[in-house]
Amino acid sequence: MTAPRTRAEIEALLDVWLETEFTFHRVNDIADSLAGLDRAAQDFILDWVRRIATTHITLAHRFAEQSPDLLRRMDRRAIEAWAVHLCDVYDQAGMYAALDIVAKAGDFTQHRHEHAAGALFEDSAPILGNFVHGLSGRPLKVEQGETAYTDGERIVLPGIVAALASRTDNFKLTKAMVALLWAQTRFGSLRPDIGSVCANYADPIRALAQFHGLETLRLTARLARELPGLHRDMVRLGREIGDRLAEGWADLAAQLDADSEVVDSLALLDTAYALSDFIPFCYQGALNPEAVAAARAGRLEKEKTRLRVKLAKMAEEQNRRAPVQEAGPKKEPRLAAQADEGQGRLDFDLTLDDLPVAPPDEVKQLLTSIFLDFGEIPPEYLVPAGDGEYDPMPYQDQPLDPDAVWQGPYHEQGALFYPEWDMGRQHYRKNWCVMREKEVVPVYDGFPRLTLEKYSGLVKQLRRRFEAMRDENRLLKRQAQGDEVDIDALVEALADARDGSEMSDRLFMQMHRAERNIAVAFMVDMSGSTKGWINEAEREALLLLCEALERLGDRYAIYGFSGITRKRCELFRIKTFDENYSEAVKARIAGIAPQEYTRMGFAIRHLSKLLTDIEAGTKVLITLSDGRPDDYFDGYRGPYGIEDTRMALLEAQRAGIHPFCITIDQEARDYLPHMYGAARYVILNDVAQLPAKVADIYRRLTH
């Protein structure tokens, strides 16, 4: 085992990373306490100090101060999760919020056990997210927050659950929390207006806590019937943690069984209010009436309108199918919905004029959600929307106008978020890039026509070459299996047999139907540095490429990328995958104009996502660029930008996409092999080559 670092060595390292010469952070005490640790622990803490320091030095200093204490209380996985959480909070909410996290380091684990192996949110969330979707009801999203609660649409879980010693048990506890919060939405705890009920009591907060206790008992009884296996775990975990009922509560527990509803809990609230405080169960989480009310207010009207519009459409379709039998005044269609519960399912029998109809999935989902809010489908919800009410637009989640987003809070409304790899932190910055898709303003200036004239010889050549690449049906001869006998082969084989030599068994012909099944996304640099010749060459290259690709029949999309800082990452649509090569596309190519800087990670990530959604045998992402990744002000340059781009490309490769780069940057040999891999790029010596070469490179690449 390596010897521990000495105090002086540690201090020297901290001096550099925390820039003590300028920041005057005191590191003596930290070095003292770290010197007493073994080498592995020292390295672990020092590594994180260094990584956090790349985000913020003060944060790293506070982390270092806390670290000996953290090491005593948490296992390393938990510390790591905590450190990442710290940086995330700093990214999203700034320094004060992050320092607050440091100050409350103890709360993160509820430190019941030393070195507790907690269940981390990032490990549990993907599993429990699917778990909760599998249970019936409204599909709930699982999100990270400070405490566990639900607003009826989301389940919020803390970053780590570490109330028990082992990781398995902590996961089981998290699962029990999720199940109970799910049960709150599924079995009506959120239906009554708890806020105003509790307001009638002298101490509303206490009333809420007691109501929460009653509901926990009721839902535990319900879960015992619905999910007996889980209930067994809940009982065991409760026993281990020491959950118990306060005096007088056993009576109430006996009154709440698997068939009790929320009204029964409300009826018992007076009795419960008079008793001593309910001692919270380990898996009960928090009840948050404000969040519930807010989510509900946003949902009710929207769902009513959506359902009525959908029902109107269904009724109309039904009418069209069954021709009107009796003439007479037009009757309003009569709709009725009956919930069909049982066996852990929630289904609906919908009848239209007393005839059963099968509701489409979206209607079923709306009915489910409405049922959860009311415990029935209110009759006014079952009136199909009239003619004047047909505009469901205000009630749908619309993508917002990308240019209007500057009016929204924090400049983030209506945008997509992408993570970015922070090489210093060795971790992703979550939701870091605020990305928007915009459209290139088309320019009708005759540029396409002039270009095609200028390169008319080359265009002809390209078309011919690409046409030759089209993989058409071929008759394969001399196959071991096939649709027809290959007479030539047969005659030869018979002659061989007469001859005494061995007779071949490859006697058939087979029609080979190969289809080129390639989807390719072109990612075009629209940074300010492309101004002038480069921009012109890019536009020409794209036009020639389109002409060639049209012959080939590959699906392709073209997007330009640029941006300034992480808050304004922009991807410009030039041609989408399902768009035809039209005059509008040509005009958009003509309209490609230099914008701001070269931030690349978000563009690769977004185009990878688009490519993943396309069904194709081979997926290719080709970047046309004039230089290294670079952005203004927020550190996206040098190694940081290169590492993020490299990470984005690795993610793309993991998703089965083949990235390739065509560049005119003569220095690109320094960083492209690292980013793309040795054989995945081409450097052109001369901008003027670009138009002639791009199509040709594509041809070689996909042949």
Binding site: I127, L128, N130, F131, G134, L135, P139, K175, A179, E484
Partner: protein
């Protein structure tokens, strides 16, 4: 014991296959058969389409020739081809031709998987011509009234490439299949596997949970067939959670998170 070998066209189903009707499908099938109309079975995988075909073949006392279509299945694979035997070329009938010749039931399972030419070759058989053109033989084979063409198709595959063309689908009487109602499904699981009613009900509940996951990570939920598999394992002494994991979860997905989630669902129930 040796396995029995049959020529497919002589294979009559001897004993009644277990089948619980979901609705009026038996009556509709019989009416269509009497009127020499071809039949299209729609529905998710493992909900009883093939079993229904076996049951109908038994009921109508016709041989059943099943072809599982795959993406390399061509018209020649169905109609027949010349093979070389001892220096001579010999014509060999394909399964479809055999079925037409003996007046059997030809069931093309998952027809959308086959190549386009295979789909088109059934067109003349599926309308009132009821004839199979055999181009390579220069013959037209007319079907007798006993012959029946049935195809199946799973509309759940959300792929543009694998959709049944209107010109094909509009020749058929369509029967829609779905997973049976919970009580019925529990009865099927219990009677196919021998587990008791309560356990079968819990398994059905579990199946519904996985079906809720369709679209949010799973392409398809657990089918009745998978439930029967799980129930059989349980009846042979495997613990329910293990049986659900091996017979259901591993069968529907490879995604580790999804596998873990399904495991959590089954441990919650048992």
């Amino acid at each position: 014991m040796n396995a029995h070998a049959f020529a497919p066209e002589t294979h009559y189903i001897q004993s009644e296959p277990y089948y619980e009707p979901l609705g009026e499908e038996i009556g509709i099938f019989e009416a269509a058969y009497r009127n020499t109309l071809p039949i299209l079975l729609k529905g998710p995988t493992g909900c009883g389409k093939t079993r229904f075909m076996e049951y109908m073949a038994w009921r109508l006392k016709r041989p059943l020739i099943t072809v599982s279509c795959h993406d390399d299945l061509t018209a020649s694979d169905l109609v027949g081809r010349y093979l070389v035997k001892g220096g001579e070329t010999v014509w060999v009938d394909g399964p479809l031709t055999r079925a037409v010749r003996v007046g059997g039931i030809c069931y093309l399972d998952e027809i959308v998987e086959a190549r386009k030419d295979a789909m088109v070759v059934i067109h003349p058989l599926a309308d009132d011509r009821r004839a199979l053109p055999m181009e390579k033989l220069g013959q037209l084979l007319e079907a007798s009234d006993e012959f029946c063409l049935a195809i199946s198709y799973n509309p759940g595959y959300q792929s543009v490439l694998k959709d049944l063309k209107q010109s094909t689908r509009q020749r058929f009487v369509a029967l829609a299949f779905d997973y049976p109602a919970p009580e019925l499904e529990a009865r099927i699981v219990a009677s196919e596997s021998g587990v008791d009613g309560a356990l079968a009900e819990t398994l059905v509940k579990f199946a519904h949970m996985t079906r809720n996951l369709k679209g949010s990570g799973l392409d398809e939920g657990a089918s009745t067939r998978l439930l029967v598999h799980a129930a059989k394992l349980i009846a042979s002494g495997v613990s329910p959670v293990t049986a659900c994991q091996s017979a259901v979860a591993q069968a529907v997905t490879d995604d580790p998170d999804m596998l873990a989630a399904i495991q959590e669902l089954s441990t919650s129930l048992f």
